[in-house]
Amino acid sequence: MISLVLAMVWTRRGQAVTLALLALLAVASAVAAPAYLIAAERAVAAGQIATAPNNELSMVVSRIADPRMDGEAGSGITFPDAGQVLLDLPGFTYHHSAEMAAVGLEETLDFPTRLVFRQEICAHVRLVSGRCLEGEGEVLLGERTAQRRGLVPGDPVELSAAEQNNESNPPTWMSVTAPKPLTVVGTYRVADSTGAYWGQHGYFVSGAGVSSGEPAFTNAVTLGEMERVATVLTIDGVARPGTIDIERLGELRADLTRIDGTAQELERIQFTSGIPRLLDRIDEGRAAARLLVPVLAVPLVLLACFTIYLTVGYGAEGRQSELAVVALRGARWWTRWWLATGESLVAVLAGAVAGSLAGQLLVNAVSAALFPGVGAEPAVSSLRYAPLAAVAALIAAVVAQRRQLVSPVTRLLRRSPARDHRRLAATEAVVAALAVATGAQFALAEDPLTGAGLFAPAFIVLALALVAARLLLPLVNLLAVRALHRGHLGLALAGLQLSRRPGAGRLFALLVATAAIAGYAVGAVDTAAQGREVAARLGTGADRVVTVQPLTRHDLLRAVRALDPGGTFAMAVVRLPGGSVSVPGLAFDSGRLAAVAAWPDGATGPRTVQRLLRPAAAEPPALATRDILIDATTTTAGEMRMVVSVSSVAGHGDALVEMGYLKNGRHRYLQRTDVCRDGCRINGIRFSGAGGASTTTGQVILHQLNTTVPAPLTEPARWRAAGEGRLAAAPDGLRADVEVTASVAEVVWIQPVVTPYPMPMAYAGTLPADPLITGVAPAGVPLAGAVALPVIPAAGGQSALVDLEYLDRLAVDPKPVIDPEVWLGPAAPADVTERMAAHGLVTVVGTSTAEVRAGLDEQGPAVAVWFHLLAAVLAALLGAGALALTVAVDRVRRTEDLTALRVQGLRPGPAGRATRWTYPVLVVIATAVGMLVAALTWQLTGWALPLAGLNPPDVPLPAWPGPLPLLAATGAVLAVEAVVALLGGRDLRHRIENR
């Protein structure tokens, strides 16, 4: 009996090979999904490790030692032994450091000098002058600090330990020990302040009231000999390349947990590490991958089983006459069963075994291409679904032949089986019910892609494909009959073959599902890629975004404009303060938006936005000389002071110029300030009380300012008062009735109106009720919505955008802003960092769209979604395989039919068209419908796919794939299947003509 079955296999070896290949694809799909997942998890880990910042590759054990409290005054630096014990992990480089706050070097007491001992310091800085530290009492100073303080190697300095004086407001630093004489032996410059060596200490962060950004480095012996107060002792462990390896992530996490637990038991020892954050992110990425891969693995395996079901069914129909003969001879049921199914089962089994291997090999190849160097790590666990897929394939094969197994002989003898409409409708109803049920679970569940919801895309595709087949095939039949009635024989015969062949609906549904899965998969890949691009572009804001050391808005604007006078590549950007009252967002030098900023698609253009944000406004009153002269008449019973806020237009800074106490009567007030030596603008004039907290009321009439253009003092509408002040026109000037105290909060500012007020803003999201920017001008700056944008680049979907220059004109007490940014566009020159430094723009940290994009590309969703492309290829191959087998099975009957018609006079022309176009037309229609099904399925389920990164920025990400990738997918599926169809048609034609 076995030899008989093998003989059957050999006789129809073409069909057997095709069926084996389909089973191979089915099992390969089932193996590929977990195998890919394993590879993806490795790639996710490798990518995250490769792109992790230094603080996520290091750990720190620290202890604060205060000799006064510890009773160790005068003793040397002693690092915590426990730390040494704790940090026994192999693969880390350890650096010891000690740090103490000191004063004596800087003029200001607003911040201390960080006096730091750091192991192997000279290997990590560039000595600009002098030499490295050698003996006790030596110190290395930063290049800018030395320049500022006029120190050169060999100069003495005195430093003493310092503590914060909380009684002053704002707090200052004060010396608490005797000064220690030190010698400057060299000056340094840091080549790479972000290098791993520097750990998480932020040595080079500067800021007003924070730090100079240049620690004074010394050696351990010097620090040890100094009279110290609180000293931070740390041991930094920096992972060497290869230490945080994908092979031992679990082990590493366990080690870190152990160290953390031990450190908590020890007094005064702190253990911190960013490595767990990295490990968490890897876990999150892997979790996303575990959601994304099965989304298409499930439909792929279902599609494979459907394909086997269909093709085995066709094969069985093709040899139905043989089976009828077997049944006619009264063979026993098992003989009949074996002869009916054996041929298919042998092929499916052979394909399943090969598929197990092929799936892993396929993933190995794909992994090698996509994740070079990561490796796919073949694992037995990849094969865990292989038996299930094989069994599913076998069941599909047996179920497909149920009719041949149980039908009476009379039915088997018919060439065209009677259509079992009820059974077909029941099957479709079951699939539709499953689609609805899983779809409902998908839509309603908190995690759509878990449980039954995971099957939703698969069943929706299948159900829609079946519905499409049910709707379209009668239409094709109708068109074919009409073509016949019109005498178009070629078209009619092709159409009738499509619509009437046994199982035509299932074949059509299969090809639709094939195209739909390919389309859905490519759609997911493209939407994800677009999303990453948008997230990187709009999340970053520009090609490169560089945070520079704090500057005033005015200085930032001036420096960036000097850097890029043409406005072609650089733009000054400042973050709005935000908070509970103030709107969050950004202030841009809006004239450069178009050249520099990433801009959301479909939004109002940047040039239009710039026009809306910067309507024409009067120029600020300007002074041409150092002298500020104000002619004013004062009437007050109390004491009032006048201060003028000025900003240099030549980069000499800003100043609040004290004009002195106001005297009753008309007087001229004159002050001189260097800030205005090359010209400056007047930001505002402040009136305040003096002495105690009592309220002073008075009237001041400003008659004249020595501005370059006469100030419009007789036009009160061109001035604005903030605080308890009212402006009115006086016969020869501006009258201000004010009520002030000595408190800084109860002053009156009179400012020229040199901006639109309220300030126009572009906004994304909901327009706030009374939008304000606080902390910039004497009073909150009211904003008015000028234009809505889908998103403000780098600020998100609920934020505002204003013009930086106009915002700056409103400021009266300019202070350096935190984290000012310079955005650089695509036209930025290669040496822009050096040019920035030359203009006083000192880089603190920078990022770029490309870096962000590369980081996103390494994350779990991006890595996992490539499986969809693999699935698309497998789906197209399944469709092509099914079509090939169908063509092979149909060949006998179609040859008979068309030969018979040829004998009856059908000419070669129409016969050729009937053979040539039947399957290509089927493929074209099915692919087109498949893409529509893909679109509908995407509409229903695409929103839930975790395609964005792990922490996507607040920007609207594309929800739909672009047309080109979908057209490419359509073309690819069409091409693969059309080749099969055309070859099949050509072969058929040869057979007919050669008979």
Partner: protein, 255 residues
């Protein structure tokens, strides 16, 4: 024949197609070439037939099927009746000798079709994906009939064979007898000058056999040369002449 006066008969398919005009589907309008009532005979002269390189099945066959009469071809199963009819239909070329319609040697089946040679094959030659009516219509249109003419002739032929009720049934939904009658209906609807009927009554009951025979007789009366292959002596006896095939050789029990 409706060939233009003064021109020799077409000798190949291209010539015939050129004369007859080609429809949108490229079919040769047989009815344009061979009108109703035209008189043609089919002659086989000293022909030898066989398949491939094998031994000849029929040797030195000479027979003329004349217009207006029914020629019976008899013989036991395997005697070569189907071979002879296939050769007369242009499907099987003669190794030696000629097969000609009105003196025009046949070059192939397409040529034979263009000369009005209709074959009703033993296996019915029906396309399974088509209904009974469509099988007839396709053949009529393929041989040059207009769609309207095809519908009319199809309806007439099916009615003549008692198949009006089964016109829209797929071939596989018909019984063997119905299929045979559908094939006959198609043959009659084509209104050929030469009608080759191969065992067309084998699956019919007596009444239907008589009806079929009457219809074949009517075809002859219309002017067609009818060749009727059968192993039924009674049916053969009802024919005008009888050619008997045995051991590859033809004899004339009733010349």
């Amino acid at each position: 024949m409706r060939l233009p006066p003064g021109r020799p008969p077409a000798t190949n398919l291209r010539e015939v197609a050129g004369d007859a005009g080609v429809s949108r589907d490229g079919v040769v309008g047989m009815s344009d070439v061979v009108g109703r009532g035209s008189v043609r005979s089919l002659s086989v002269d000293g022909a030898v037939f066989g398949y491939g390189e094998g031994e000849a099945v029929l040797n030195d066959i000479t027979v003329v099927a004349r217009a207006g009469e029914v020629l019976a071809v008899t013989g036991t199963s395997g005697a070569g009746k189907t071979t002879l009819l296939n050769a007369m239909a242009g499907i099987l070329p003669a190794r030696e000798g000629t097969v000609a319609v009105e003196g025009t040697p046949l070059t192939g089946r397409d040529h034979a079709v263009s000369l009005g040679v209709v074959l009703i094959p033993q296996d019915n030659g029906l396309a399974a994906i088509l209904t009974a009516a469509e099988n007839v219509s396709v053949a009529v249109i393929a041989t040059g009939g207009s769609p309207a003419e095809a519908r009319r002739r199809t309806a007439d032929a099916l009615e003549a064979l008692g198949l009006s009720g089964q016109a829209d049934q797929l071939v596989d939904e018909l019984s063997g007898g119905q299929q045979q009658r559908a094939a006959l209906a198609r043959g009659l609807a084509l209104r050929g000058d030469v009608v080759l009927a191969d065992e067309v009554t084998s699956e019919l009951d007596a009444a239907n056999r008589q009806k079929v025979f009457d219809l074949l007789r009517a075809e002859a009366a219309r002017g067609a040369a009818v060749v009727f292959a059968t192993h039924d002596p009674e049916a053969a006896a009802a024919c005008d002449r009888e050619l008997h095939l045995a051991d590859g050789v033809a004899t004339w029990p009733r010349p």
